[in-house]
């Protein structure tokens, strides 16, 4: 036998870890930096941009997107996608806000619960089909997008919920501020924080990352994949339902176009810009929230700068492409750098 010798593997990998962590924190801080840069530059040119009313406007607008992005991110982490959030939000907005007209004096929290319930129900339906049926989520949620949209159209008919039917306390929700910061934004941030905490500190949360990172490996490791995927879709739906109620509070007039076209794709784009990998396994809900905030800021910034806000879409699309390309570039370069380190350290 050879004489005992020093373990000759890679040396204390604090160096590697620092590199990795630095790069990965770069992703989240990267998007914060881009946001900060944006705000800074715009503010320098046009100080009006950072007026408290403008900031409040941006925060309130981005809130719903950031909230729904939280749920969408959980689904994407498991290597799935939920296209139906758009119509869940729309239907929930109409039904829950419509409650005020139907049930006189209904307490506001109950309306929130109704919206949540609607969302949970549809989310669970998605979850059952994807998790148990082992059917591709893109197709399933495209189908439910259509079905729920159809239900929404039938239910709404030609009516709409008008602002006057909504209690003033409800309508005031997006306007309430605490120390000049909209309460709504704080609430959403808290929810996102809770989501991030859950994904980071609980076994089931970590398992969602595992499922997206290596689905076969997850199964082999004994992770209850179907259960986790079901949970992800149910939560995503429920959050979209909540988002619907918030949308109603914000826009007050609800017809079939609530949410706007491409809402689902905007939410997915927010997540990807915020660092969530489209095939799952990595990314954070906080990043997704910041992505939503960034996309929401662009529009207002353009307005304030006097640039036609018709540049909004183009810039957002370009940012998304940049984000994906950079992420790919980073991961390729990171893998090469780490491999080289291993070789250097080892030989």
């Amino acid at each position: 036998m050879a004489p005992a010798r020093e373990p000759s593997g890679a040396p204390a990998d604090a160096g590697s870890r620092r590199l990795t962590e630095r790069v990965f924190r770069v992703r989240e801080t990267g998007i914060i930096a881009v946001l900060a840069l944006f705000v800074l530059v715009t503010a320098l040119i046009q100080p009006r941009f950072v007026s408290s009313s403008n900031i409040q406007f941006i925060l309130v607008n981005a809130s719903v997107y950031a909230l729904v992005a939280l749920g969408e991110t959980m689904v994407i982490l498991t290597r799935n996608v939920d296209l139906s959030v758009q119509s869940v939000l729309a239907l929930s907005a109409y039904l829950s806000a419509g409650m005020f007209g139907h049930v006189h004096g209904i307490p506001i929290p109950v309306v929130f619960l109704i919206g949540l319930g609607i969302g949970l129900a549809f989310g669970a339906a998605n979850g059952i089909m994807v998790a148990l049926g082992r059917v591709p989520s893109l197709v399933v949620t495209l189908a439910t997008l259509y079905i729920i949209q159809g239900i929404d159209i039938l239910v709404v008919g030609g009516n709409e919920v008008v602002a006057s039917s909504l209690p003033s306390a409800f309508v005031a929700i997006p306007t309430v501020t605490v120390l000049d910061i909209p309460w709504l934004a704080i609430a959403v941030a808290v929810v996102i924080g809770a989501g991030a905490y859950y994904l980071r500190t609980f076994r089931s949360g970590r398992e969602m990352y595992a499922i997206g990172s290596n689905p076969d490996g997850a199964r082999l490791a004994g992770i209850p994949v179907a259960r986790r995927v079901f949970t992800a879709f149910t939560l995503c739906g429920g959050i979209a339902g909540l988002g619907g109620v918030l949308w109603a509070a914000q826009y007050q007039t609800i017809n079939t176009s609530a949410g706007g076209t491409n809402f689902s794709l905007i939410v997915i784009a927010s997540a990807v810009v915020g660092g969530v990998a489209i095939f799952g396994g990595s990314g954070s809900v906080i990043g997704a929230g910041i992505g939503a905030l960034l996309l929401g800021t662009i529009n207002v910034a353009l307005d304030v700068l006097g640039i036609s806000d018709f540049w909004d879409q183009a810039i957002a699309g370009f940012l998304l492409l940049l984000a994906i390309a950079i992420d790919r570039g980073i991961s390729v370069r990171l893998a090469a750098a780490l491999r080289k380190r291993g070789a250097d350290g080892g030989t």
Binding site: P136, L138, L142, G150, I268, A269, F310, A314, G317
Partner: protein, 340 residues
Amino acid sequence: MEPEHRAPLAWLRWETGLVLVVIAIGVLGVSTSSEFLTGNNIFNLGLQSGEIAIMALPMTLIVISGEIDLSVASIMGMSSALLGYLWHRHWSMLAIFAVILVVGVLAGAINGLLITRLRLPSLAVTIGTLGLYRGVADIVLGPNTVSNFPGSYANVGVSGVFNTNLSYSGAIFIVLAVIFGVVIHFTPVGRSIYAMGASPEAATFAGIRVKRIKTMLFIVSGVVCSLAGVLLTFRLSTSVNTNGLGLELDVVAVVLLGGVSIFGGKGTIVGVVLGVLAFAGLQNALLLTNFNQEAASIPVGGLLLVSVFVPIMAARAGRLRGVIPRRGAGTASPIGSGDE
């Protein structure tokens, strides 16, 4: 990273089932409204869904090859915007068509290159170009609307080819369907597309130039969607930046309805034509009954679900009967394989 095996018979059954569905929709239409099968209505039917139908053809090839293109409606919008903008500046129609053609090629090429050279996932890339190209439409037209197109072109929305009941877009769809059908079913390129969708690795080992073909597919999609944009503009007699907004999911839905597998490697043009008929027929039938035609999305969604559950059930049954050997099944990511 592959889907479970599906019994090939299931797909053949899908097209046959789809024929039955189309017939059923026809019967439904006729029973609810005596106008359903009139020439005038057929004309309207062709008009309404013409653009979606046309865009569904290159989308079919792209999905069979294992990718997806969500920027189709934005390319359409971009070409519509350019049409209006340049017409407003008194360019000749011929020159405008040339520009739109070039822009369509570029748009498709950008998609193709990002996906094949940079190896980025097509789902994410085309969500990005969806925004980018719609943005170009926004920038070009801004809040303006252009409507003064010459009658001979705007005629597209009013009467059919040679004054028959066949709309121009319907005619173009038929011609393109034949062309795409021949290409995918009867040419070496077509076989190659099926191969690369079913197994990109085996296709490469057979000497198939996967990257080149995929890039071409996206370029063709760009050109066809630009054409669809022109048709839409003339039909509505309006060029506005929101033309075509949101249609991309309809195009994907029609393709999936036609039995094309989201995983790639399977599907037929016949199926997609039937899917178009089902989709358009449903909307039209509901329109005639004064039922809210947009609620047609419910049966469309239902059919989509059926389209995806039937093969899985059939495969399960086939495996139970021991007909089909079990292959490793993971949760596949259906659109493109990215590069991990």
